[in-house]
């Protein structure tokens, strides 16, 4: 038997973490329970975070939005603040899993699983997301890009949980683009994805741009060079092809059962061409 704890608040959680030898925290279980079944992981005990109110919700803070780690994807999709201020994240969330999976899975889980294919990650990277890690006595913050250290690896310490994610809203941009390539149209692990934030002037020049790719490297890939190829330019085929060529150099995809590295590399660039749709009329 594997003990499973269900603390009702943070205080109860800290007591569990102190008392038990290394219980694995989880929330929705949509990744963890699959890994338990396959034997990929075998923790001695589990602690479920879903009932801890301090870890759930969305609210405005100075300079940004606070998102509790234990907030489900469905709740985020329904949240007016997320819809209004983080359309890029909302777009990505709508491609994640399926309705029942979104009712269970959480943003904290997606971040801590740190899969190279995690759907919330490219938008959170593009939005310069920041995580807060807490233990009973400590609290530290770091950029998401630093928190995820490799495929499935994070800087989380054994006594810590991910408490929340903070993002600055993307209101400074007027293009919030997300596209995910999966083998089918729902419940599909991402083969390659692109999150793009742009500010395009009324006359069509790109004034600001953030790009982030998912599933084409050990972690989310950002490419300053690709961004540079668009800055100050119009969203023309030529400019996007140049950016695409640079993107293909920046990504480091692998072959796996879903797709080849060559395909992933090719489409990483191609996905940028979709931005032609955002040229002012």
């Amino acid at each position: 038997m594997r003990p499973v704890f269900l603390p009702g608040n943070l205080e109860e959680l800290w007591r569990v973490l102190e008392r038990e030898p290394a219980p694995r925290p989880y929330c929705g279980g949509t990744d963890l329970l699959v890994h338990l079944r396959s034997g990929k992981t075998d923790p001695a005990a589990l602690v479920c975070l879903e009932r801890i109110p301090e870890l759930s919700g969305v609210r405005e803070e100075e300079g940004g939005l606070w998102i509790g780690a234990a907030t489900t994807h469905a709740r985020l999709l329904d949240d007016p603040l997320v819809r209004a201020r983080l359309p890029l994240l909302a777009r990505a969330l709508s491609t994640l899993g399926s309705p029942p999976v979104r009712n269970m899975g959480t943003i904290g889980g997606n971040v801590c699983t740190a899969s190279p294919a995690g759907d919330t990650l490219p938008p959170l990277y593009a939005l310069d997301g920041e995580v807060e890690l807490r233990s009973r006595d400590s609290s530290r913050r770091m950029p998401l890009r630093r928190f995820i250290t490799g495929p499935g690896e994070t800087a989380l310490r054994p006594d810590e949980i991910l408490a929340c994610v903070r993002v600055k809203p993307d209101g400074a941009y007027n293009v919030h683009h997300f596209e995910k390539i999966g083998i089918r149209r729902a419940m599909a692990c991402s083969i390659a994805s692109l999150a793009a934030l742009l500010r395009v002037s009324p006359s069509g020049e790109v004034e600001a741009v953030r790009l982030a790719w998912g599933s084409v490297g050990p972690t989310v890939v950002a490419s300053g060079e690709a961004e540079q190829a668009l800055l100050g330019k119009r969203l023309s085929r030529d400019a996007l092809e140049e950016a695409a060529a640079r993107a293909r150099k920046a990504v480091s995809p692998i072959d796996d059962a879903r797709a080849s590295a060559a395909y992933r590399r090719e489409v990483s660039g191609n996905l940028l061409l979709r931005l032609m749709e955002y040229r002012p009329l």
């Binding site: 083998i183 729902a186 395909y263 489409v267 979709r274």
Partner: protein, 771 residues
């Protein structure tokens, strides 16, 4: 739709609908029991090897383990199989695929079972593996079955009509191609499972998810040396079958477990991963085609070589290939055909029956060839097909004269008048940025029934219960196709009783009568044809008894109505319950047998086929796929689907449409998403995360048109329609790709990656290899 007396030709809702929609229907998987034991299998884990030792001591010592059994514990022949008894229940000498069974464990709970399975120590000497058709046929190849006289060739066969090779030389237009299709998994939602126990008198009872409960008795009897009449198989409704539960899956293992369970119930339920590992698959195949025609598009000659990979055991491999060969030319007149087939053993998962049984494979090739031909001739692909379409009285590519209903031309003509076809050019021109639109056709067909060599028969049994209601004893499993509902429709119609009052007994070898397998699109035709005379006799008996009770001297003056018999002239009635109470069981039960007609003039070819060739009845369909391809990602989106289907007359329009829609969805999976990926005999797609089924966003709205052509031998003129729709999507989508993007893809599934690569090669011909 409230309860009513069914009418033939009017939609009737599913008889088992209410119980399924409320979760009350018990599938085999829903059977548990007091003191339940769980049984599980330790499997080979390597694709080919000699077993050196199986050490069960540690597993057997684990508390909670009741028994650990190996090949030596199997009492009978230790061989199962439908045609060829070549598959051990528990392997003793060697293993031939990763899913081969080596040991069987019985334990008190699933956790103990899993632990015990991991404690069974199997020592094996790996043998060189046979990992595909070329491996199997290479000179000096390792032998999958050393004792098999054909080496790695299970069956080599030829269908020859006329002089195809000479005739091809004379053809002004010839097209050729080589096509490859992968294994496909049935992926029924209810995996292979059952519960078994041994009664005090020694009878072994199995409640199992099976398409062939009566044949299961024979398989278990032969494999375990149990007397045939000491085995009872109960077959509840299945949560899907599609051919994958035709032939013993858990049955012999479960019966063996029951023999060691001390009377306790034993349950075996393969989880999804085990179903992928050990369950049956559609045959992967490689198909080489040369098709020749005259200048005006008249087909003249076909030469093809077909290779089917049957995996580690025969299952129905020879029969699958035979059916594929019989359909290889498509539903067209081709005077000269030379169709050669090799069905080979490999160390791959076992291939067996799957909806479209050998025909799904050749339909890809045959229909791509037709479009290639149309292109070369500068002919419209629909016109080319219509020109060559088989009609009743023609000889088909197997050399059989079609004496039964043949409606492929009607289906094609129907497509031709539909707006989806008529406005296709305008639709294509409206593709958005980075999108290309294409439209593709497929003309397909699929035989019904077992063909020659095996009697396709059913014994229908219907009873007027002592309470005066109808009780129908179905001899064939309902795996979701709705044959039970068709039987209610027929019985209710003939006996004028409301559908909801009719009790259905699903197959149970102790109560219902042998009626063959739920397969080959045969169940409503064959069982229905047996049911009609049984019902007619029962009607005579009921009305006859009423005549006695009402002192009426002719049956014509009496009306059979829901719950009663009425004498209109006098207004007198007698309730069925009253009637039934005066009748003995012999009087209240009617049984009738039907045997499906077979081809009389068997062509002098295909002599290698012992069973399954040729067939007399076919269903036909023409499919139209409208797709949109994304040039940036290669992704195919299927936007519209049109299917025109001919399967005789339609008993239940809703039921007919259900079959067409479901078949198209499976075909779309086969065409674009699904592939059992294998590398050196190991499955790389072991679960639903890696093996991708179409979901609700991947299947378009399907327009299903019906072309009715009376089949006089069928119950109310019908034929089976379950399979034909599955054959259309792969070729229709491939043809749409060629039409919209100018790419000719020869390997299924038609993945985004494959499409993007093909588009790239088209832009830069002769460019270097990628990946």
């Amino acid at each position: 739709m409230k309860s009513s007396v069914p009418e033939i030709g009017r939609s009737l809702r599913r008889a088992d609908g209410p119980s399924k929609v409320t979760g009350r229907e018990k599938y085999a998987a829903d059977h548990y029991g007091e003191g339940l034991l769980w049984a599980g299998v330790r499997r080979a884990g390597i694709p080919h090897g000699r077993i050196l030792s199986v050490d069960t001591a540690e597993a057997a010592d684990l508390p909670g383990v009741v028994a650990v059994l190996t090949g030596g514990d199997v009492p009978g022949t230790n061989r199962q199989g439908i045609v060829h008894k070549d598959q051990p229940v528990l392997c003793r000498e060697k293993v031939r695929h990763c899913g081969d069974a080596v040991a069987l464990v019985l334990a008190g709970d699933r956790e103990t079972l899993a632990k015990a399975l991991s404690l069974v120590r199997v020592r094996m000497e790996p043998l060189p593996g046979v990992f595909g058709i070329d491996d199997a046929l290479a000179p000096g190849a390792p032998l999958v079955h050393e004792e098999w006289s054909g080496g790695n060739v299970l069956l080599r066969a030829t269908i020859r009509n006329g002089e195809a090779e000479q005739a091809l030389e004379a053809c002004p237009v010839v097209v050729e191609g080589t096509f490859e299709v992968p294994p496909q998994a049935h992926a029924f939602l209810e995996t292979e499972n059952g519960v078994a126990w041994q009664e005090e008198d020694g009878t072994v009872v199995l409640v199992v998810s099976t398409q062939a409960p009566f044949r299961d008795k024979w398989e278990v009897s032969h494999a375990l040396g149990l007397p045939w009449d000491r085995i009872r198989v109960v077959g509840p409704v299945l949560g899907g079958g599609f051919g994958g539960k035709d032939g013993a899956t858990v049955q012999c293992l479960l019966a063996l477990a029951a023999l060691h369970a001390g009377g306790r119930r034993v349950k075996m339920w393969w989880d999804r991963e085990e179903s992928f590992l050990a369950g049956y698959k559609r045959h992967g195949a490689r198909l080489h085609y040369r098709l020749g025609a005259r200048e005006d598009g008249t087909l003249h000659a076909l030469r093809c070589r077909l290779f089917y990979d049957t995996g580690a055991y025969a299952h129905l491999g020879g029969e699958v290939m035979a059916l594929g060969m019989e359909h290889a030319g498509g539903p067209y007149r081709i005077p000269h055909t030379l169709i050669e087939g090799w069905c080979v053993y490999t160390n791959h998962p076992v291939a067996g029956a799957m909806r479209g049984f050998g025909v799904a494979q050749v339909s890809f090739a045959a229909e791509r060839m037709m479009d290639l031909l149309a292109e070369k001739l500068g002919m419209d692909p629909l016109e080319l097909r219509k020109k060559n379409a088989l009609r009743q009285g023609d000889r088909n590519c197997a050399g059989v004269t079609l004496t039964a209903s043949t409606g492929i031309l009607e289906c094609l003509e129907r497509i031709g008048t539909h707006p989806l076809w008529v406005d296709r050019e305008k639709w294509k021109s409206q593709a958005g940025p980075f999108k290309k639109r294409g439209v593709g056709l497929a003309a397909v067909w699929n035989a019904m029934g077992y063909g020659r060599g095996l009697p396709d028969s059913a014994l229908a049994k219907i009873e007027l219960t002592p309470e005066g209601r109808l009780r129908l004893y179905s001899g064939v499993s309902d795996m979701g196709q709705g044959n039970a509902t068709a039987f209610v429709q027929i019985a209710g119609h003939l006996l004028s009783q409301e559908d909801e009052t009719i009790e259905l007994i699903q197959p149970d070898t102790a109560r219902t009568l042998p009626s063959g397998s739920s397969a080959a699109g045969r169940t409503t035709y064959t069982y229905g044809n047996a049911l009609i005379p049984a019902c007619e006799e029962l009607r005579r008996r009921i009305v006859g008894r009423a005549a006695l009770m009402l002192l009426v001297d002719t049956l014509d003056d009496l009306e059979l109505l829901p719950g009663r018999v009425r004498h209109p002239a006098s207004g007198r009635e007698v309730p069925l319950s009253v009637l039934a109470a005066t009748m003995t069981e012999h009087e209240r039960v009617c049984i009738s047998q039907f045997l499906m007609p077979v081809v009389r003039e068997v062509p002098g070819t295909g002599k290698e086929f012992r069973i399954g060739f040729p067939h007399l009845f076919f269903a036909h369909a023409a499919h139209l796929a409208r797709i949109e391809v994304d040039e940036l990602t290669g992704t195919i989106e299927v936007k519209d689907w049109l299917a025109a289907t001919e399967a005789g007359r339609v008993l239940n329009p809703q039921g007919f449409e259900q079959q067409v829609q479901g078949a198209v969805a499976q075909g779309i999976g086969y065409g674009t998403l699904e592939e059992v990926k294998l590398r050196e005999g190991r499955i790389l797609t072991p679960d639903f995360a890696a093996y991708i089924l179409p979901g609700s966003l991947d299947v378009p709205e399907i327009i299903s048109l019906v072309e009715e052509v009376e089949e006089p031998t069928g119950p109310y003129g019908m034929k089976g329609v379950g399979e034909v729709g599955a054959n259309g999507p792969l070729p229709a989508i491939a043809n749409a790709l060629a039409d919209g993007c100018g790419i000719s893809m020869t390997r299924a599934p038609l993945t985004a990656e494959g499409v993007l690569e093909a588009l790239r090669r088209k832009r830069t011909p002769g460019a270097g290899e990628t990946s």
